[in-house]
């Protein structure tokens, strides 16, 4: 049975629908990311789970019980805010202890748990520091310790790493993942950073304009994007216009001079999506001319002008000779490396 369940949840502000028809089952101990551009409704959904907003329609259940009927203060969820929202007038230890105080945990046990929580996030010895005397990364850790010390049923992370610099963010990602795996708290992360979502989560919920575009493992969403939005949002992709040719038997998928047996169940105009790293230079296929060639250490990046429009190709730097700028090439890929969708509006 699902641990946390969102059932057709919707949120409207006035006439504007911010989240629509959001259904998701989260298993116990799972790490889920809500991924999407700003304004896609991911934070609104998180706030509805937290209880800061009430859903207009739909139900949110935790272990089968209706969560929307529970006051936010009684939900027992741990939340890390984008701004951390630490209490500036309290020390790190007092911040972490606050949730335990509210639960009337006895003083001795409280001190022990606060110490353990701060040690877990690598802040042993910082107990008496005030938040304003700590770095952004340290504040972030205090916020995490404060959310985890109450042993929350679900941990909600609202863009927790977006205020950190790139290097620190990577470190925190690794650490966050380790901590989550160790204590096994069911976690929901809201982010607009696809790398963050992919490196941390068990499953990603890709959202756009208040709707779910796709739910899947990082690999699924990357390799089998369910929509043009998902393939564009997660990493770089090439979209080629193609058609299904029914005049030949068996039917063929044609994109420029590239052709392959057509996948079943599709007809007419289609969009063929191929990741840049899955395209190779061969003897047959889409004819193209290399416009620029950029060396990036472990790989080469080619920008090409193909008969189906601009294309990007990434090749591993494996020591082989690579085509030069201005060369005419043929682009090809294996049929299993592409995803084909019916072209809308054609």
């Amino acid at each position: 049975m699902a641990y946390l369940e969102l059932d057709r949840v919707a949120k409207q502000f006035g006439t504007q629908t911010v989240v629509d028809d959001f259904s998701l089952s989260v298993g116990k101990g799972e790490f889920i990311s809500f991924l999407g551009p700003s304004g896609c409704g991911k934070t609104t959904t998180l706030q509805m789970i937290a209880g800061f907003l009430d859903p207009t329609r739909g139900a949110i259940r935790l272990e089968g019980k209706d969560l929307t009927a529970v006051h936010p203060a009684k939900r027992g969820l741990g939340i890390v805010f984008q701004s951390y929202a630490l209490f500036p007038h309290m020390t790190a230890a007092e911040n972490v202890a606050f949730g335990l105080e509210m639960r009337n945990v006895p003083r001795n046990e409280r001190a022990e748990r606060v110490r353990a929580a701060l040690a877990m996030v690598g802040l042993a010895g910082y107990e008496d520091r005030h938040p304003r005397r700590m770095s952004g990364g340290q504040q972030q850790r205090v916020a995490l310790a404060r959310a985890l010390v109450i042993k929350p049923s679900v941990l909600l992370l609202d863009e927790p790493l977006s205020n950190l610099d790139a290097k620190l963010r990577e470190e925190m990602q690794i650490e966050l993942r380790q901590i989550q795996r160790t204590i096994g708290t069911t976690t929901i992360l809201v982010t607009h950073d696809q790398n963050e979502a992919m490196s941390l989560s068990d499953r990603i919920v890709v959202m756009s304009q208040g709707k779910i575009e796709q739910i899947g493992t990082p690999q699924e969403t990357y390799e089998k994007p369910a929509s043009a939005f998902v393939s564009q949002f997660l990493g770089k992709t090439n979209d080629f216009a193609g058609t299904i040719d029914r005049t030949v038997s068996p039917t063929q998928l044609v994109a420029g001079s590239w052709r392959a047996p057509a996948p079943a169940g599709l007809g007419g105009p289609v969009t063929v999506s191929v990741r840049p790293e899955r395209i190779g230079f061969g003897d047959a296929g889409l004819s193209a001319k290399i416009i620029t060639r950029i060396f990036q250490g472990n790989h080469w990046l080619f920008q090409c002008d193909s008969e189906c429009g601009p294309a990007i190709v990434i090749r591993q730097n494996d020591g082989q000779a690579q085509p030069a700028e201005g060369d005419a090439v043929r682009l090809s890929w294996r049929p299993e490396d592409m995803s084909v969708r019916t072209r809308a509006g054609a």
């Binding site: 800061f52 203060a73 027992g76 929202a85 209490f87 005397r133």
Partner: protein
Amino acid sequence: MSAMAEERSARAPWALTAPALMLFVGVLLIPLAMTVMLSFHDWGQYKGIEPVFILKNWHEIATDPYYAEMFWRTFRIAILTTLLTAVLGAPEAYILNRMSGRWKSFFLLVILGPLLISVVARTLGWALLFGGNNGLVNKLLMSLGAIRSPIPFMFTETGMVVALAHVMMPFMVLSVWAALQRLDPQIENAAMSLGAGPATIIRRIIMPQIMPGVLSGAIIVFSLSASAFATPAIIGGRRLKVAATLAYDEFLNTLNWPLGAAVATLLLAALVLIVVGSNALIERRYAEVFR
């Protein structure tokens, strides 16, 4: 060449601040120094002011209980006014801050409105409402039979505190408002998610963070109330004097300028001590919040 440029750039700050500095010295420091000097001069009914150095005025203020009472009253009124504005102003600012857009700007205008009206007009308004038998509110309450005799307001310390608190309220509200702006907008949600109820959030999370605002507002209100002239002059008149109205009377009615100067100097010195002292205390106590 470079030495000249250096010399010129070293002089530049002085040259640039000179006009303001001259104004500051001319209209503040010199009159102040002259007032202090004046307080050591002698005065007689028939001889007028004699520019000699004596401690007569200071001795009189130190020994005559009349002056002690006057100063106690001044500071008592200032403290009560400060407390009243804090107790009413802090929640007012908090409620205002939680209002949504249009209401917020409307009520902010309502709160700041009094600043646009002369203190004299506002204080006379209180006098019209509560002034003796003819006060509007007193008349109404008496005709309704709620009270037998008019609520004493004019010439009372209560009246003075109420009228002063009304005048000073915007300073407290603005000061607390500024402190509220520094609050993390998610801080209440954070406390709530950890299990805190509304009362706990206000007591444990909001109050400690806006306390510096309340206290700096209190310093402003206290120093303005203790040196206020118009409101005490209208409500208290000649019967209930405070330090500022006393100095005024010595200067303009008794014409004993040296004694008036001594009263004014003492008021200034006491205020500076209190304000600087409490400011230092506050900054030390709330170092973490101020950072």
